[in-house]
Symmetry: D3
Subunit: 311 residues, 6 copies
Amino acid sequence: MDPVIFVGSANLALAAATAESIGLTLGARALARFPDGELHLEVQETVRGREVFLVEPTGPPVHEHLFELFMMADACRRAGAVRLIAIIPYFAYAREDRRATGRDPVGGRVVADLLGACGIERVVAVDLHTGSLEGFFPFPLEHLSAVGLIAQMAATSGVPAESVIVSPDLGAVKLAERYARLLRMPIAIVNKTRLSGEEVEARGIVGEVRGRPILVVDDMISTGGTIAAAVKAALAAGALPDVTVAATHGLFVGSALKRLGGLGVKRFIVSDSVAQGRELPIRVVSIAPLLGEAIKRLHTGQSLDHLIAHM
Amino acid sequence: MDPVIFVGSANLALAAATAESIGLTLGARALARFPDGELHLEVQETVRGREVFLVEPTGPPVHEHLFELFMMADACRRAGAVRLIAIIPYFAYAREDRRATGRDPVGGRVVADLLGACGIERVVAVDLHTGSLEGFFPFPLEHLSAVGLIAQMAATSGVPAESVIVSPDLGAVKLAERYARLLRMPIAIVNKTRLSGEEVEARGIVGEVRGRPILVVDDMISTGGTIAAAVKAALAAGALPDVTVAATHGLFVGSALKRLGGLGVKRFIVSDSVAQGRELPIRVVSIAPLLGEAIKRLHTGQSLDHLIAHM
Amino acid sequence: MDPVIFVGSANLALAAATAESIGLTLGARALARFPDGELHLEVQETVRGREVFLVEPTGPPVHEHLFELFMMADACRRAGAVRLIAIIPYFAYAREDRRATGRDPVGGRVVADLLGACGIERVVAVDLHTGSLEGFFPFPLEHLSAVGLIAQMAATSGVPAESVIVSPDLGAVKLAERYARLLRMPIAIVNKTRLSGEEVEARGIVGEVRGRPILVVDDMISTGGTIAAAVKAALAAGALPDVTVAATHGLFVGSALKRLGGLGVKRFIVSDSVAQGRELPIRVVSIAPLLGEAIKRLHTGQSLDHLIAHM
Amino acid sequence: MDPVIFVGSANLALAAATAESIGLTLGARALARFPDGELHLEVQETVRGREVFLVEPTGPPVHEHLFELFMMADACRRAGAVRLIAIIPYFAYAREDRRATGRDPVGGRVVADLLGACGIERVVAVDLHTGSLEGFFPFPLEHLSAVGLIAQMAATSGVPAESVIVSPDLGAVKLAERYARLLRMPIAIVNKTRLSGEEVEARGIVGEVRGRPILVVDDMISTGGTIAAAVKAALAAGALPDVTVAATHGLFVGSALKRLGGLGVKRFIVSDSVAQGRELPIRVVSIAPLLGEAIKRLHTGQSLDHLIAHM
Amino acid sequence: MDPVIFVGSANLALAAATAESIGLTLGARALARFPDGELHLEVQETVRGREVFLVEPTGPPVHEHLFELFMMADACRRAGAVRLIAIIPYFAYAREDRRATGRDPVGGRVVADLLGACGIERVVAVDLHTGSLEGFFPFPLEHLSAVGLIAQMAATSGVPAESVIVSPDLGAVKLAERYARLLRMPIAIVNKTRLSGEEVEARGIVGEVRGRPILVVDDMISTGGTIAAAVKAALAAGALPDVTVAATHGLFVGSALKRLGGLGVKRFIVSDSVAQGRELPIRVVSIAPLLGEAIKRLHTGQSLDHLIAHM
Amino acid sequence: MDPVIFVGSANLALAAATAESIGLTLGARALARFPDGELHLEVQETVRGREVFLVEPTGPPVHEHLFELFMMADACRRAGAVRLIAIIPYFAYAREDRRATGRDPVGGRVVADLLGACGIERVVAVDLHTGSLEGFFPFPLEHLSAVGLIAQMAATSGVPAESVIVSPDLGAVKLAERYARLLRMPIAIVNKTRLSGEEVEARGIVGEVRGRPILVVDDMISTGGTIAAAVKAALAAGALPDVTVAATHGLFVGSALKRLGGLGVKRFIVSDSVAQGRELPIRVVSIAPLLGEAIKRLHTGQSLDHLIAHM
């Protein structure tokens, strides 16, 4: 029997495209909020005996999206679904993988526990900020990667072939190396220091960028602070003012776009893991085929090998 | 060792008054949101080896408040708290105690499971919409009542002694009977029908209200729909236009206050379970002493007997 | 592969009729008691890889029937059953949905936990005393209703068409409204007070019964105390002495039948959820087709929608 | 703070003596049955923050006694007990430690799981039929022995010093060896075959009984079948007709006493683990001091070493 | 879909023969150790959606073999296996079924818990030292027996038909009786005392061995201490010096073989549950067909009835 | 009551020094291996009602040490310990924090699950290879750091003040920065590529080492491959042949010492987290005071703040 795919309110377009990519349509469901803000959900498909995929990136508003997932999961398991798989293309709280001070929560683990408490039995994520999040779940997490798709877009949308890949911090080096291999570009690494939640300062840059266009890559663009610092450092080191920024998750929180535009970034390449307005200079690569393929393979028992973020 | 009391952002005043009522001050903690909406929490007290009470009513924004509870719980258990007790004066999703259609979630149980997943080991609630929510938890739920405090306020703030208690639906009859006993007033019952999420219609009224002031009682005032229908029905049945509305939880969602004011309600009596603006005609009874006493008794191993909502 | 249906000692006839209604026969099993009262059970069918339904209403002797369920479940899961579903047409301890005094058990939750501890993964119940029992289970509970079947019997077995439906207490009003809709009869409501475990007193009746036959409806007839008080109140309010009592579960504990007969009740309509002697004036409606249909639909992955007690 | 000791209906005298032996009285509780057989329990002591011991041997009626334990446990944990310890002097279903046929339950494990599901965190048992039952629990089981007390009674109540200890089957040999060591008597072993649930036949006897009185020992006397076969075999082998039977648990199910009396057994020595009528020829040794000592040591954190059934 | 069978390093030959017996080949996997001793495992088959059998007897080095099981289980469940079944022909720590002193672990339960923690859902074992180990698992344990196979080998490999079966201690009597029934030989029983971990002394022998060859049977041969004591006792009692020793598990720890050879044991018959060097005088019976049949029946949902160690 | 500290066989000296540093002695226990390699453990202290700390680094032989932990934990919880805390100074499998290929285990999570399955409720670790391992546990992990102690030793044992700190790969940069801050030295970073399990190649070095002595720092020295590559790269970049290597965990697997000595490393500074032979050129800093302080603070409910590895 075909699987059922439901979507919350976070990214209808992505979920619909995902379903369509494998010849399905989204499962019908009514999702609303009562005047006091409590969710009102009704699944409108028979799910008894079927495998259910819940597609919901957890970008802002984070907690609303997470609760939509929780409630969809509960409704489906009570209605007799045989297996609940959450497709969470952008995974919130992935940066909170340990206590910073000894008296703070491990947010990533909290989210993992809550998903499990609602009956989710498997999670599919894309280019997680922290790969070891996999160990936070008692059940399997499939870690897909959009790097291949984004690199392909970079190669065909005006990014100069002589660009240098710039990793904006040490945490992104492995990601940058994957881009470098795919695009056959050299690499430079910025070593950053975080001054506050939003403010970041580059402490140095390793590798040669002088006289070259740059392609800054990261897993996500949130407020843009880290990337802005990297761009500044690269320009200061003599990079040409032909700057592309590529990342899987384009959250563009607050004035991120303006801030980076102000530094002369010419192109942004992101996936549609988080819903995008799709206006230039943002080029959007759809991960719907990636997610669709993963759903098909999970449902029919085939290997996910070539879809996985090998690290 | 003294217990530690933390509060999220939902009702600082209530928590502070609760702590003060038993000679304590609130535990220090930093609670903020990152630009993308993720919570940033740091407990700033030593909690190792101590019993921790987390005070957080879950009125709107519901999911924000719930996540504050989850994160505070995780931070405290990792920091070595010996026991985590959530004081949830207003308990969201308490009306979702069963599936309505067979394909919806049981929201009350979802919340119970999530609280448990974060290490909460006991919950204290006040005048729950559904008493059987107690059975949704694998651990004890202490069900306190503010009815005594509210009845006392009614008796001393101008509610005419010859009023008739009006239960706005069958679900509130037991509550109305408790008010009737305490205030020695007769009782009338409205049998309602729900037309939609917000619209409610009275199908009849039982008991004599003709020529008498009325005191409509319920566990909560949300959009005011149920209560408005009851007021209309009572006035149509000849009740005097001297109307008081009393409830434990005054959410006053949307235009509730305006709607009820338009029907001539003269007085509202609610507790501070949900933060109140405290302007007339709303009289606010503080449940801080009730919660403080519960904390003291839970912490020192004394009976909660006289604080409990016996039903 | 066909599912296997086993039955304990509680209601062989119902289980056999249920199996037969969908073209199956009961699974063979030996069930006896050792001289010291311990159960001796042996399943005599291959259950490996099969879905197993255990049919066992938990009327008196309550604890014997519950332990038969526990032991059958353990035997079946060890023998390799893929899924264990308990069909509990009458669900004991459903009235204990919260603590009454603060120092008593929540019996309904205890039973839910014990069933889960034995490997039961789904429960099917019929007209539960408390619908919110659904939230007591970590797994789905399907709440079926026999009201349609009983109403149909009432319409064809001499209950006068001009009868008034009487709800014997506020808890049964929703049930009474379902009967009223199906039989197009008016409704009257008795507000009762419980004097002791068995003794109940009516505090008033709402709705017009004068000069009309009455049809008192409830989810169950146990000692008959509540229903007797309602009959007395209705007769005192002028109802005709043409009284029918209808309920899903006819336990008829102790002298219930005599007590109600003494008040002039002419007809009883109950289901066979609890084994009945089947003598007049008790008319028995079989729920075997209802249960059979539920088993078939659960087994083949179809919706239970039209079998469910919507509330 | 002192622990609280509650008792169900199984053995009030033993529990009271146990409490008294360490200077306590039993905790007050109301325990009754509704007319339909459901239990009605109310704990009438403050248990918040206290350690609770529930004393309940699970002799016939087995399932009633087990449910009393379950409900007492639930009431106490909801009321705030810090730890629940079940004292189960006679442990039902201890003989069902494995599947016999592959399609039967493992009753001992079922009971262990149910106790755990109710919040029991430790069990104290006495002379279990199967010592490996200890591994059935996720929490500690303390296995005490009454052999010392019974041997002492044997030595002082007319059992001839020249008796031979007879183990009625191979499973009781280790127990018999403990009696032999304590009483400095020789040992003989009967190898039995079970013909049916109640009927047992001796296949041979090892060790010399000719011309000697015998003391047959076992962990329990249920229907007496095993012991009767042993007595017959010993008499046939020339033992003197001076027969004593000693066992920790004297269930004396059905006609056990008559059957053994008919074989000329002169004396029975049993403990009060199961309530006894206390008439000759049954001599009853109280295990109250043993249980009291265990409670005291568990409560104050002392070693149970010398109370344990070392095997 | 066919199941996948993986093997650790413990007994490749057995696993391969098992797979072959049902027309399968072993699943490919890379299993190595890093220089620091940590395991390095990679499953090289697609296991998504398939049932996985992990074959690994846990003879010495015990903890290495157990960790291979744990890691294989984790890899398979993360890779999407639908069910994990451990085939553990020789089960380590089976003798630790209870505490001996009150302050030691229950090793059998520890191993059971660890297997469950890794996602194992069913265990298949052969001739366990303690049958009640079955109750240590929350999931089913299938207890197969190689006694039939070994008895057949005894009958066809020179064991004299007039031999007496000797049970080397009381714990092996039931096993000895099964051999006696199959081979139609009489039985004799040795009652032993353990002096130390390795040293054992016979306290007596029951049954007639004078002038007869003997066949000593046990579940396992470890250091050979128990069996050596039995052989000595039998020879002292006049048995002929034609001694065969048969056991399911031939661990032959340390100098076991030399010690028993020194006593004149002429033949050993063991299974290949633990890898054997296969030199005379050890005759090895393969349990591969037994395990293969069990795998086939578990996979296709057929009864294991005739493969089970009925006790 | 004082806590009890037990140690397995992994590092007796460290555990004894730890206990001594807070005025305690190690708890008595007998720990041996049966001839077949199974562990034989007996706790020889009363642990009832006491907090127990189990000190056991899990260096080679890894699985032996882990099983000692499991068995000690089981023995202690059965004997009545109130809380079990594992002190695991060197934590095996910490590098396996995610799947590398999609079909391998997440070893770190497996170990976390196994520890939890044995009743461990808290873990104390030192300078973990992967800090996010914290999220793998359902209970708190306290992550201590020996960096301060090692830096202090470096400052007082001949490491030239003009040295440059070298981080041998990107994963060690944060650690290197902590050393740099404490020792006020500049930093250089090597970017490595792993060729095989043991062979590593440096791809470049960032920061100035020419003409300066170097201090290579890492969390652990295993085979020394990563460090050797870093030393070679630094020497090739002109560093002076005055090389110190400092790491928390000195495993020195295989020929690590010889390999590094061959490159001219003059000094090694490691902690005693893993037992050391203590010969020059290895200087050993004891973490016993660090662990002792942690035990004292955990036991008495004080903050661990200044002992924690802030990252």
